[in-house]
């Protein structure tokens, strides 16, 4: 066999393989293509577009002029922006720890074999499923200063009436409570699934070693659901920083900007005040802040995980 014959035969052998590879590639891309296009079209392209927008004074009606970093500079002197930061920060600081602790406790309580447990579990998830509009209207009636159920209850108990959603100093706390009520069912479900994944042998071994309820909770359950805790914390941070819908349906940011959150402010800037370029700049600051918060959080969590 000559070398040319050999190479010809390998070529002959290789060619259909190449063709199949090409065919596989086409088939592969035809499956992955739509998703790729969707991701490119609906997230990356708009993100790039919004970044470009944040360097202009566009109102979305006309193209707008390039203003460089002016939008970002204006941010530093915008009192409403700082108010929105404070409001969102308050929500974050109150919501994350409470949702994790309450979520885990309720999940432990729901992890039992009692009659009607399915019903109890459903009860905790329902607020998460109900639309924000319905929740907003409902809560608007409960936390109304003059006609609300909450103040009605306080009055019956002989306690002083509160300003609630009408009070600039209380409204954000009330909204945080509502936010907590709608979202923490999600933590419960995730924790419940994680607890049910803990192997029976470990639990049995613990009880044989004489671990009580508290010890089991502290040394078996809490460490076992750690990955879920990290996931829920990250998820909660994103959720809280993007808080918008309930603001829209309960207070519209009022009274006197007491409940303006960052995303609500972005929406106002872009669509009510016709300053879309400035709104995009605020959105990008939020994006950078969220990213930073999550990266730092994950690094800390990982380091702790390594030393623990």
């Amino acid at each position: 066999m000559s070398s040319t014959a050999l190479s010809a035969s390998t070529r002959a052998r290789r060619r259909p393989k190449d063709r199949r590879k090409l065919g596989d590639n086409i088939a592969g891309w035809s499956f992955a293509g739509p998703a790729t296009l969707v991701i490119l079209g609906f997230s990356l392209v708009p993100m790039a577009w919004a970044l470009a927008l944040s360097f202009t004074d566009s109102d979305l009606m006309t193209p707008g002029r390039n203003v460089g970093l002016d939008n970002y500079r204006a941010l530093l002197e915008d009192p409403v922006f700082f108010q929105a930061l404070r409001n969102t920060g308050l929500l974050l600081v109150l919501y994350i720890p409470t949702s994790l602790i309450a979520g885990l406790l309720v999940a432990v309580l729901l992890n039992r074999k009692v009659r009607g447990i399915g019903f109890y579990r459903t009860c905790f998830l329902v607020p998460y499923i109900v639309s924000a509009t319905a929740t907003g209207l409902l809560m608007g009636f409960i936390f109304d200063r003059d006609f609300g159920l909450a103040n009605g209850l306080l009055a019956k108990l002989g306690l002083p009436i509160q300003g609630l959603l009408s009070s600039p100093s209380q409204a954000m706390f009330v909204l945080t409570l509502i936010f907590f009520w709608t979202r923490f069912g999600f933590s419960v479900v995730i924790y419940l699934a994680a607890i049910q994944e803990i192997s029976k042998e470990v639990m049995e071994a613990a009880s044989i070693d004489g671990a009580g309820r508290w010890t089991t909770f502290r040394h078996i359950i809490v460490p076992s659901v750690r990955p879920m805790t990290i996931f829920l914390a990250v998820w909660g941070v994103i959720d809280a920083l993007q808080f918008f819908d309930l603001v829209m349906t309960t207070t519209k940011g009022g009274p006197a900007n007491a409940t303006v959150t960052i995303v609500y402010y972005v929406w106002q800037l872009a669509f009510t005040y016709s300053t879309a370029g400035y709104g995009a700049a605020v959105a990008y600051v939020l994006f950078a802040g969220t990213l930073l918060l999550i990266v730092v959080g994950l690094l800390v969590a990982r380091r702790r995980g390594a030393t623990a």
Partner: protein, 431 residues
Amino acid sequence: MRRALAAAAVVTLVATGCGGGGDTRDEQPAGGPVEITIWHGQEDASAKSIEKLVDQFNRSHPDIRVNTESGGATADGMLPKITAALTSDAYPDIAYLYGSWAPNIARNPKTADLAEFVKDPAVQWDDFWANEREAVTIQGKVIGFPAVVDNMVVLYNKKVLAKAGVQPPKAGWTWDDFRAMAKQATNAKDGVFGTTWPISGGEEAVWGLWPMVWQAGGEILGPDNKKAVFNSAAGQQALGRLRGMAVDDKSVYLDSSPSEKGQKLFESGRLGLFLSGPWVLPDLQAAKVDYGVSPLPGTNGNHETISGPDNWVVFDHDERRVKASATFLAWLTAAQQQLVWMSDTGSLPIRESITKLPGYQDYLDKYRGIDVISANLANAKRVRPATTRYPRVSAFVAEAIAQTLLGKSDAKTALDEAVAKSDAALAVPGS
């Protein structure tokens, strides 16, 4: 076989990928009727009425075909919707847009200019009320047709007032009468308030203040819309009076919800006086409320009110479609069609000639009190400043009103602060 399948998949993918963005409605055959799309943004009875009229138009005009869509938004949410549609080139020919948005919309190059069209005597442009024409004309550019006009009046619940021993408003009443009546009608024990004022962050908190300011000789912005002047004596007096009612008399239910609970409270007999407009009348009748209607209280005999004309705005795809849109709107806003629309929805006449049609009396009989509101159109002399910055100014005023009515600030301090912020916003170059 497998390869052929894969190739076919790719071809479809590319085809859909490329075709997805374009508006196929743009490519119309040269012959046949001109197709136009209208986003009416109406709900319930109003939506049915407009669709009925469009059907009638399509039947009588074979050369034009109008497609109705809600636009996927109610009238309140149309600005964000149309903004997105214009940005992505998927906009309708006609959309229902509030008058306060007109300055923003007019800046878009895709907004049509009907200035030449409305000169046609058949359109009877001068038959529309002056403030409507003003609201749809931005720096000489006529961006569409007047759609709906309204104005602010005082609605009063006869039962609530009678129970508190308050006489209903008389002609020539003043804001001091209004304050005294609200105080007398308030009954904290039964949860009844004299009146209500919104304190959420939106325009609904603000627009009721302007008639008081205007009546006392004040203005919102100075000439050229460059400076805010609403902290004048007139402004301070207006907001100070409201503060007195809310803080000292405790006769005002401060509504912090965006759903505007005022109307529901009025319907359920918990409010004596309610500043509102004609759009609530069908609901009040459905709820069988025993109500009365009065023009706003006055200052030195001036009972000026505020109106919010809404527009049908036309967007430019090509000349044929703009012309078809204008033809349709001229027909829709003609007196005969408007009377049908008014009877269905309780809207006010947008043309003077409508009031002379034989069917007008039936309409007046159908909606109790509409005659007062209709006559009150004569008191609607000014519109809010036609500047793209008004929404921002309005937000500052809303904040000042909330601070003041909650007793956290006095009227002068709050208004001065709002003026300072507004001046900064007005001084930014552009638009």
